[in-house]
Amino acid sequence: MTAVGTPARETRLPGAAPLLVLASALVMAALVLLPLLVVFGDAFAKGVPKYLAAIADPDAVSAVKLTLLVAAIAVPLNAVFGVAAAWCIAKFDFRGKGALLTLIDLPFSMSPVVSGLVWVLLFGAQGWFGDWLIEHDVKIIFATTGLVLATILVTFPFVARELIPLMQDQGSDEEAAALTLGASGFTTFVRITLPNIRWALLYGVLLCNARAMGEFGAVSVVSGHIRGLTTTLPLHVEVLYNDYDFVGAFAAASLLASLGLVTLVLKTGLEWRHSGELSANRRH
């Protein structure tokens, strides 16, 4: 992902390097820094009290709570799924391994809207299980369950993708050694496998969480935009913006932006301190 450390080469144009750096810095400033400043600028445009009021708004609070709830369910589940998937792919040989790998990557290559739509097609009123669900009074679409399902699907690859190269690189000799020394499978997993992947796992969970909290497309399809009930923070931003409530929209957006900044700091810290224990593909 981050392609650092490519050796510096002699350039034929001596002035080119600083120019390129300057150009990239300008583009970054225009495309990333400026919008970020605008978010915070507009959020505080009418003063701090208005900002605080916008955040304390009951709908905003429930949106934050819902976002946290969805992430709190989706992220741990994806951490477990991700570890399991990476474990079986990295440590065992079986038929259909390539297909499984492709399948894990599918959410990355698919539009999030489709990831949301599949749940509507399955569980929506007109969906495959629609009649049965209505009969039994189970609500999935336009409810928290749907949001969780959509989020899980979209964020599935993060943990697995992070762990697979690392676990393949580490091989299974240490686990085999633990077994011959008398450890059970569970003990081996807890005392050998997990410690060996802990930082990569944390890294994957971090990315997964950032996406889970920031996801818009997939949850937008299944949410139904019921204010205070099924709007997560990103949806809440959109709803307020469509209502011309700019302070409210940007205040909520500033929360998301802060989440992004915190994630970035933690991620950089991890890369800096534990680069050796993260994926092999990031090590070079």
Binding site: E174, A176, A178, L179, T180, L181, G182, A183, S184
Partner: protein, 364 residues
């Protein structure tokens, strides 16, 4: 161990019988690749057995079958009278040393060594101080007293290897399995560790099976050597026995440098080009392949007996010399020891080369 009375009794029965490890008709394939093909071999109690073969010969697979890390497709393994294959890895109590040591990278040396003790069921687990004492003893045994607090990444290859061995010995293994134990070490460390390992084996008194592709190591270290090729056991015997009587051309070739020439055997006489000699015992009749070691030859003047050859180059090194010699249109690199090299052997000279101990195998 008092808590496992049945195992102990059976173990002793096996020891009394002298036969400790009995491998019968083991086959194992990975997909379509047959890694082991009907391998049977036995080891006596406390024996030091080497599995020798080129890469892909199945030796490591056999070791992993013994450890319980691979399940064979067919065959039987008995150890100390027990059906070994029905025992899961963690209850076999085999001490395995992996080729790349497989030390737990996030644990210190002391924690690595203690691991096997700390994962025991609570009833059998030694106390903290007992564990610490045991670790200290083992560190002393492998001569790493001061390194208990280090992490594997902070050790040299030889040190890691000894930690791996100490970790395997900590569980008081009934059998020690070593996968290319010296594979990743440089020549000097190798030689030192080799002697040390043999002493350790003799003191610990456990049946040891080790895998190597280095014939010198196997011949030097083991009580008996099992030579594998393409998943089959080709020969099993004491080092001297297999060296003196290689079962087939492959073994002859694998155990040391070999020169080969075509020949014929009839009426107990061996003829190679214009040289005729008494055929070795049990030599097959008809067209044969004649093998001899490049350092087991005698040089003679042209009127003597032996294969006619022409010296191409002589490289003298102390009392010994490497003599490049053209025999029957092929160039051989022969080794001449001081007394076997007559004076005046020089490039361009026609000589006779007499193989001292030719081996004869039927032509394939």
């Amino acid at each position: 161990m008092n808590s496992q009375p049945t195992e102990d009794t059976e173990g002793r029965t096996g020891a009394a019988g002298g036969l400790s490890l009995d491998i019968r008709n083991i086959s194992k394939s990975f997909g379509r690749f047959p890694a082991l093909n009907d391998v049977s071999l036995q080891a006596r109690d406390k024996e030091f057995l080497a599995l020798l073969g080129p890469s892909g010969s199945g030796k490591t697979t056999l070791l992993r079958v013994l450890a319980g890390l691979e399940r064979p497709d067919a065959g039987e393994v008995r150890f100390g009278g027990e059906d070994f294959l029905s025992i899961p890895v963690r209850r076999r109590r085999v001490g395995m040393v992996f080729q790349h040591y497989a030390l737990f990278r996030h644990m210190t040396v002391a924690q690595n060594i203690a691991f096997g003790l700390t994962v025991r069921p609570r009833r059998e687990r030694p106390s903290k101080s007992e564990t610490a004492d045991r670790v200290a003893d083992l560190l002393k045994l492998v001569q790493l007293e001061d390194l208990g607090g280090r992490f594997p990444a902070q050790l040299s290859g030889g040190q890691r290897q000894r930690v791996a061995l100490a970790r395997a010995l900590a569980i008081e293994p009934r059998m020690l399995l070593l996968d290319e134990p010296f594979g990743a070490l440089d020549a000097q460390v190798r030689r030192d560790l080799r002697r040390w390992l043999r002493e350790l084996h003799d003191r610990a008194g456990v049946t040891t099976v080790f895998v190597t592709h280095d014939q010198e190591e196997a011949l030097d270290l083991a009580d008996r050597v099992a030579i594998l090729k393409d998943g089959r056991l080709v020969q099993l015997g004491a080092p001297n026995e297999v060296y003196e009587h290689p079962a087939d051309p492959f073994v002859y070739d694998f155990l040391g440098a070999a020169c080969r020439l075509p020949g014929t055997v009839s009426d107990g006489r061996l003829t190679v080009a214009d040289w005729e000699t008494r055929a070795p015992k049990d030599a097959p009749s008809g067209a044969v392949e004649v093998f001899f070691r490049p350092d087991e030859v005698m040089f003679a003047p042209l009127d003597g007996s032996g294969l006619a050859g022409e010296v191409k180059a002589v490289v003298q090194r102390g009392p010994d010399a490497r003599v490049e010699c053209l025999i029957e249109g092929r160039l051989f690199e022969l080794q001449a020891r001081g007394p076997t090299l007559p004076n005046g052997v020089a490039p361009g000279l026609a000589v006779r080369v007499k193989p001292l101990r030719p081996h004869v195998y039927p032509k394939p």
